[in-house]
């Protein structure tokens, strides 16, 4: 923890010195950025724009997570389904994010549906690939146990299946979240009238580096908060049994 604090302090110090030496509007110092950040928070602009982005992230993430997990699971369990679905998956994986976004906007229109769908489609194949491996790694002995004891379907899913898939779900979700954050900004930059990406696009056209930096920092802070307050505690709870070893 101390190392992290020292490392971040060093980064801010370097930034401070570099800004003082450069003395340019293209590299505002930490104090100027902090002032801009506070002003945007007070005016309510920053919370609103962050809220818009966050809502898109959550929606796209949920769609990619649920559909990607189901498709990946089915591919892992059925060779026939895998044979048919695999070429689609390869095409989607190799399709650049920008192409998907432009296609979605052109076919569906410049609206929320297109924006969220484009982001979800970018993440879905990665989620499917991870979950396919998870489904392939399921322990057939536990499946036999569940069948022999005639466990009800919901009990099997909840207590036998999901815990086995949990590490894959967690890995896919974590990498997915980081990808989705980034793609949502591009989607907003290209075709939405609000959100962090839209604001950064406007700031770029105005060469407003203070705003760009203040939004980038607030974005990073939000990601760290989600990582430490949501993702890590959830993982620790789900995998608490792993700490126990004979």
């Amino acid at each position: 923890m101390l190392a992290r604090v020292l490392s971040l302090s060093a980064l801010i110090a370097i930034w401070f010195v570099a800004a003082a030496v450069a003395h340019s509007r293209l590299l505002p110092g930490p104090l100027a950025v902090a002032g801009g950040l506070l002003a945007d928070i007070r005016s309510g602009e920053l919370p609103f724009e962050l809220g818009c982005t966050l809502a898109r992230v959550v929606a796209a993430f949920a769609i990619a997570l649920v559909l990607g997990s189901i498709i990946g699971f089915l591919m892992g369990r059925s060779n026939r389904f895998n044979r048919y679905a695999d070429p689609w998956l390869i095409i989607l994986i190799n399709l650049p994010a920008l192409v998907t976004i432009i296609f979605a906007y052109m076919w569906i229109g410049l609206n929320e549906t297109a924006a969220i769908l484009a982001v979800a489609l970018n993440k879905l194949p990665n989620m499917a690939v991870v979950m396919r491996e998870g489904a392939r790694a399921l322990d057939p002995r536990l499946d036999d146990m569940a069948s022999a004891f005639r466990l009800p379907v919901m009990t099997r899913i909840r207590h036998v299946l999901v815990p086995q898939l949990a590490p894959y779900l967690a890995a896919g979700a974590r990498s997915g979240l980081s990808i989705i954050w980034k793609i949502v900004l591009v989607v907003e930059l290209i075709g939405r009238p609000n959100g962090v990406g839209f604001v950064m696009g406007t700031a770029f056209s105005l060469f407003d580096m203070t705003k760009l930096l203040s939004y980038a920092i607030s974005f990073i802070v939000i990601m760290l908060v989600i990582e430490h307050l949501v993702v890590q505690p959830l993982e620790q709870h789900a995998f608490r049994w792993r700490k126990q070893r004979a």
Binding site: S147, F149, W241, Q244
Partner: protein
Amino acid sequence: MNSTHSGGENNALELRIDRKTYVNADGVAVDVIRGLQLRLGAGEFGALIGPSGCGKTTVLRIVAGLDTAFDGECRWPGERRLGVVFQEPCLLPWRTVDDNIRLVLPPDRAKADLTDLIGTLGLASHRAHYPGELSLGLARRVAIARAFAINPDLLLLDEPFVSLDEAVAARLREELKALTGSRNVTTLMVTHDLDEAVQLADHLFFLSDRPARVVLEHRLTVARALRTDAFVRATTDELRAALSRLDR
């Protein structure tokens, strides 16, 4: 030295496997079992004995309903409450001992008092432990407790004491004797250990090499509690002699 096959009793296990094959790596169908029949009366303890790889576990999987690709018929006893103890304990590592045992209970018995069962198997101080904290012997006890928790009509045991040291295995055999002796449960155990079969079972079925069939049946009429070491030794010698006569 042998008994005749008889049927008709409702609460009995009746198994007939005309043929069971599997396809090997070269795509060739190989007979694993052919013409195997066995019948266990209600509450009887049967043992399937045979050489490694002869298909004993396959027979058990067929009885458990885990393998349905065979020609023949399997009739189950009672209300179809089945308890299985697999060769591996097959516990869920993310559930505690208590939760692993309760997992198989029907909803109306989810809060059932399992103190006696858990106490009999010496698991009282391990209820809150995860399987990763248990030795193999303790994990096997949990698997046995789980199978008995549902009050099974039919209990299937697949080499439940294999790879345990003899002292632990002997203690577990005694615990199994106590549990099966106090319940009216029809039991079928797979083992390659003739001593173990003679100690525990009432009805022995000796299987041939592949394709497996029953080559010898033997009923033990002496109560389990009265089977001394000398009795077990004499009986196993007698059975080995009978098997070698069959080989000739």
